[in-house]
């Protein structure tokens, strides 16, 4: 399969909290990521807050210019932001956010918002626009009579359908979904996940699905990359990563998923605090919370290596006990 998107050595850093005399703090949100997204594939990116998953998503779309490294789309480097080429690329790549109410314009009707990308990219005119909007609304399961409604008149699930319809308006080949169902209730979440899956299968969309909800990721993704403090610590097909997580962090993450009808037994409770990108530990960033860490982990940065068909970054991996799901 040919790669649609390739990220090479992506780094993003922000300068924050310049004190009066001291040096500015440099926070590395993304710290050297190589990723390949194959055409038609759904790649899941999981990690806790501050792991850099949203920053990575924005760089994959070319919405943020990386500090170093590059993103190749169809083998071509990402054009500079705000150029003519970059604008044309926008129609092919779309982003869906967590909060649909923030992504929509409160003063515009649903139909007008879905029509907007068609007009901006000159894809349809006049009556054609109305037809396209009606078709898009039908595809995402919105009723025809909802066209003239405003966002606040719809429920959370319906709003997210509007956002999805608008993202699909330009027939994109690549979609980044950043926590698209996290704000929705369980019963509605399942409706939207099914919709995204149907659309992906019908159009052969290539998707990057960013989420902290491992159960949803398990359901929708072909392959999963687990991030910790700006780096990928494990990457594998979703079947194997959930059945047999290898990296100690992935093991803790998978075991921390509360399952209905199961108590707290057998869960790995991590010690210590969530990662803070402003105070990255030396060596393996996960070592202060790791059950298997020893002195070598505090100095040596583990490389992302192939371990029997999956990538993992852990010095202790050959010896870390396997954990059955």
């Amino acid at each position: 399969m040919s790669p649609l998107l390739e990220a090479r050595g992506l780094v993003q850093q922000y300068t924050s909290g310049k004190s009066l005399f001291g040096k500015p703090d440099i926070v590395r949100a993304v710290d050297g990521i190589d990723l390949t997204v194959t055409r038609g594939e759904v790649l899941g990116i999981v990690g806790e807050s501050g792991s850099g998953k949203s920053t990575l998503g924005r760089m994959l779309l070319g919405l943020e210019t990386p500090f170093s490294g590059e993103v190749l789309y169809h083998g071509q480097p990402m054009p500079a932001p705000r150029t003519e080429q970059w604008r044309r690329l926008r129609a092919q790549m779309q982003l869906i956010f967590q909060d649909p109410l923030a992504a929509l314009d409160r003063r515009m009707t649903i139909a007008a918002q879905i029509a907007e990308p068609l007009e901006i990219h000159g894809l349809a005119k006049g009556a054609e626009v109305t037809d396209r909007v009606a078709a898009l609304m039908a595809r995402v399961g919105l009723r025809r009579d909802q066209a003239d409604r405003y966002p606040h008149e719809l429920s959370g699930g319906q709003r997210q359908r509007v956002v999805i319809a608008r993202a699909l308006a330009t027939n994109p080949g690549f979609l980044v979904c950043d926590e698209p169902v996290s704000a929705l209730d369980v019963s509605i979440q399942a409706q939207v996940v099914n919709l995204l899956r149907d659309l992906q299968e019908q159009d052969g969309l290539t998707m990057v699905f960013i989420s902290h909800d491992l159960k949803v990721v398990r359901n929708i993704c072909d392959r999963v990359a687990v991030m910790y403090l700006g780096r990928v610590v494990e990457e594998a097909p979703s079947d194997s990563i959930f059945a047999e997580p290898r990296h100690p962090y992935t093991q803790a993450l998978v075991s921390s998923i509360p399952l209905a009808g199961q108590g707290l037994e057998g869960r790995i409770i991590l010690r210590g605090e969530p990662p803070n990108p402003a105070a990255r530990p030396s060596g393996c960033a996960f070592h202060p919370r790791c059950r298997f860490a020893d002195a070598s982990c505090t100095v040596q940065v583990p490389p992302l290596e192939n371990h029997g068909g999956r990538l993992a970054a852990c010095l202790k991996l050959p010896r870390a006990p396997r954990l059955a799901a």
Binding site: E48, S49, S155, G157, Q158, D185, V186, S187, I188, Q189, A190, Q191, V193, N194, R197, H212, L214, K215, V216, R218, N219, I220, D239, F242, A243, E244, A252, L253, V254, S255, S256, I257, P258, L259, A260, G261, Q262, G263, L264, R267, I268, I269, L270, E273, P274, N276, A324, A325
Partner: protein
């Protein structure tokens, strides 16, 4: 006699009824879950019980704590219950803490109000509480401000503050929803161990069925301002009888089922201003008959145990998928 007993609790905002008569009992030392989606009334139930709703809310019914009535009680009487007998923690710990005061001062304030502790005795007790909820080097961190703690630690500070009055009951309203998965596991573990050590009762309000089943003995499922099913956790999660409870379970993606299609509950939660006639869940229910759209079912005791408000409860004892042990 149960410790807290709620009878026919009803709440209306601006003439719109959002809670339609809740009956709930919490025994001493018991952990009870309250499950449901946004807007179902699970938080309003406890805010109403503790007199924490704004003035425009009309609250009727009865909430008794060891026989003492709380609804329409004098402010002084409520004050002697809130924080001292019943404490509450919320979803967003950072907005519940005062950002301009050191956490130590906020905890000692609670100790002074509820236990009359002052000065070094209060400070020593605050350090002990912070230590108990797992804040490392509590003796020095007691002088830090809330923004110097992470979200998970802020929730620990909130729990320490709630424990300051030695409450008999802790109401935890979505205490782990805003936290990351691994930190959520830590907080659930902490709440369970505190309960084990102190014998405190807990009401755990959450939309996360997994979290509820991890820390509760018994749970009630709410829909559109009513309790639709209540049972012990094993039975409720093993064989749910109300179609809505069943729907909630089926909608959760199964970690072991791979890419199987999800089974959503179709439709949306009804608008409280415009509730359907009969059972509020009927428009979304696959089992609904014409009877369901005409009459509202009462919460009735079932032969197999538990209570269900449904004319056509699921009687099959087919086990739920998540309880099956799958070895990879």
């Amino acid at each position: 006699m149960s410790f807290v007993s709620i009878r026919d609790l009803k709440v209306a905002f601006d003439g719109v009824r959002v809670l339609h008569g809740i009956d709930l009992d919490i025994g001493r030392g018991e952990a009870v879950g309250l499950v449901g989606e946004s807007g179902c009334g699970k938080s309003v139930t406890w805010l109403a019980a503790l007199g924490l709703l704004p003035g425009k809310a009309r609250v009727t019914g009865s909430v008794r704590i060891e026989g003492r009535e709380l609804i329409d009680a004098r402010p002084g009487e409520l004050e002697s219950v809130r924080g001292a007998r019943i404490a509450m923690i919320f979803q967003d710990p950072s907005s519940s803490l005062n950002p301009v005061h050191r956490v130590g001062r906020q905890i000692t304030e609670s100790l002074r109000l509820h236990r009359g502790l002052r000065g070094s005795a209060a400070r020593a007790e605050a350090i002990r509480l912070l230590d108990m909820v797992g804040i490392p080097s509590a003796a020095t961190r007691i002088d830090l401000y809330p923004h110097e703690f992470s979200g998970g630690q802020c929730q620990r500070v909130m729990i320490a503050m709630a424990l300051a009055g030695r409450p008999d009951l802790l109401i935890a309203d979505e205490p782990t929803t805003a936290l990351d998965a691994t930190i959520q596991a830590q907080i659930l573990d902490l709440l369970s161990s505190i309960r084990r050590d102190t014998g405190m009762a807990m009401v755990f309000i959450s939309h996360d069925l997994g979290a509820v089943s991890a820390v509760c003995d018994r749970a009630s499922v709410m829909y559109a301002g009513r309790i639709v099913e209540t049972d012990n956790v094993a039975r409720l999660f093993g064989a749910p009888k109300h179609p809505y409870t069943r729907g909630l379970f089926d909608a959760i993606p199964d970690l072991n089922a791979g890419r199987a299609r999800l089974v959503p509950v179709e439709g949306t939660v009804p608008d409280p201003r415009n509730l359907p006639q009969g059972c509020a869940f009927a428009p979304r229910c696959a089992r609904a008959t014409r009877f369901c759209t005409a009459y509202a079912p009462d919460l009735k005791l079932q032969a197999m145990g538990g209570k269900v408000a449904c004319f056509h409860p699921d009687q099959s004892s087919e086990p739920m998928r998540e309880t099956q042990v799958v070895v990879a």
